[in-house]
Symmetry: C2
Subunit: 330 residues, 2 copies
């Protein structure tokens, strides 16, 4: 298998994507193509030892910044690393593309260059989050922020396929993110989506509230990409604020409390490990005709390496074939 | 001042609203009217000593359950405690109404019975959340889940008035909750709301992401009621899951880690106190022609008592007068 990694994508690019590629080569033995500014990539690669034949570089002279307008940048910067990388997939010179770069640009360029699977109207980013019970797939978390209810149904079908074939669930439970559990709850958009889900052949368990998502009541949670993105960002922001509050409080504490916190550290470290967002490393962009994984902007080498492993499972399990089949029958 | 408390509203009704009323009478000396099933209220009141002339009961034979469809229940159950309570405000027999009951029913009954302030198209629930810097008002968190961009502007104006006159900010910063900071970010709805806010006379500081909300970058954050409700519920769910994870981890820990956690407890307690959701006790439903406060369903006696204090400030500062004036000039 051959993976393309966007060397210029993410807050710590090109350093982290390049180091992630080196780690993936060493740990999994896969071939990696690094796309981006050749000189910069080479100067980082020089510092590491790895089987040279496993990593190739494809030069791309332009970079789309993390906060640049997505569609405009993809159109104007013809030689950007995202587009160049996706073109390798299109030409079947590689099996999957991974980027920690501008999410909007990846979604836009992937849709333009790879097109969508038959039966899919919009792609969706499917992120796997830890819960108190089992991992849960949330789709969409930001690819499609002005969706129609039909797109939500398609997310359910795609999430179902991924959950069955990659995560090994035999009859995944699918739920709709909402602000109340009753079917009458929510705005017009979710009510219409609820009706469509209920009429499908999915194992639809109805509406789910955020707390129940975290309790692990569903295998797949579908939502509007705007709401899904808020969901993720509130979780991140809350976790950050909580940790910060604790730090400040401990700084102002007496010596006994400080010693206590030091002794309790292993528990915090164990939790941190269990909820490590780098576990999967990348979220599949389901619905495009190709395998594209979007990694968090703050991805480090471990996240990028794990994204390669996630991409390999995505390929091995032929998820896209299953999605196309499922869209015909559901 | 005279306050009406919905004795039947909330997960712990009538026990907690009644006890909250007793506490408010004892601590603040205000008059309280308890609306609900007279016998049940009396049997709880019997257990407490308080100046009897300060609490009166208005009988209401029906109760709207926490999960009942709002509009339908308000229409069918004519003698429900929420409607009966609001009618006392309408007849100017009381100055404010507090309920921890069915939020949708309170919004619906308040709009029907009190009508809206001139210039307001939809009411909004304005909740004050703790942040790393200063308290922040988020409006709307669930009154209006299918809003128009104009409603968001009105929330900004109402939040500005509340922030100036009750929270004492001289020029409150107003931000729009979004999934990116640039003005080009977000769905069509927030882009349109952004334009309207930018053209207003508000001290609008642009888009804000959830993490920055928690860092305390804005005094007032406006959003769609569906998104605002997700924001609150993700925060709650995340806090719950985090605490639960920690409990489980500590249970499985060795004795040293357990002792450490025990010694560090004061820090956790201090944080819990700082972020206590019961601090304000109730969120004003801004925009209705009257003072209505919505308390969390899980409110205890402390929350209800504090809601009375918050309501008193709302009355004293003549917020509704200021809102009507502001809507004319912004």
């Amino acid at each position: 298998m051959r993976f393309v990694i966007d060397a210029m994508g993410g807050d710590y690019a090109p350093e982290m994507p390049v180091r992630g590629a080196v780690n993936a080569v060493k740990e999994f033995g896969y071939e990696i193509v690094l796309v981006g500014k050749e000189e910069e990539i080479n100067s980082i690669l020089k510092g590491y030892s790895f089987p040279k034949e496993k990593i190739t570089i494809v030069n791309a002279t332009e970079v789309i910044g993390m906060d640049e307008p997505a569609a405009l940048s993809v159109r104007k910067k013809k030689d950007n690393s995202i587009t160049r990388g996706l073109q390798l997939l299109k030409k079947e010179e590689a099996d999957a593309f991974i980027s920690a770069g501008n999410t909007g640009a990846v979604v836009c360029a992937a849709t333009l260059n790879l097109r969508l699977l038959p039966g899919v109207d919009r792609p969706g980013i499917a992120v796997i989050i830890p819960t108190l019970a089992k991992p849960c797939m949330v789709i969409d978390v930001g690819a499609n922020i002005d969706p129609k209810p039909l797109h939500i149904l398609q997310y359910g079908i795609m999430g179902d396929a991924y959950s069955r074939h990659v995560l090994g669930k035999t009859s995944p439970t699918i739920a709709l993110l909402n602000i109340g559990e009753e079917s009458t709850k929510g705005n017009d958009f979710v009510k219409e989506a609820h009706l469509m889900m209920a009429e499908s052949k999915l194992n639809f368990i109805g509406n789910i509230e955020p707390k129940e998502v975290y309790e692990g009541h569903a295998d797949v949670v579908v939502c509007d990409g705007f709401v899904g993105n808020v969901f993720l960002k509130v979780s991140e922001g809350f976790a950050y604020a909580g940790a910060e509050l604790l730090k400040r409080e401990l700084k102002a504490s007496n010596i006994i409390t400080k010693i206590g916190a030091f002794l309790a550290l292993p528990a915090f470290k164990a939790i941190k490990k269990k909820v490590d967002a780098r576990e999967y490393g990348g979220a599949p962009l389901l619905g495009v005709d190709g395998r594209v994984l979007i990694s968090h902007g703050s991805s480090d080498e471990k996240a990028i390496k794990n994204a390669v492993r996630t991409a390999a499972e995505y390929i091995n399990q032929q998820v896209n074939v299953h999605i196309v089949e499922a869209l015909k029958i559901y």
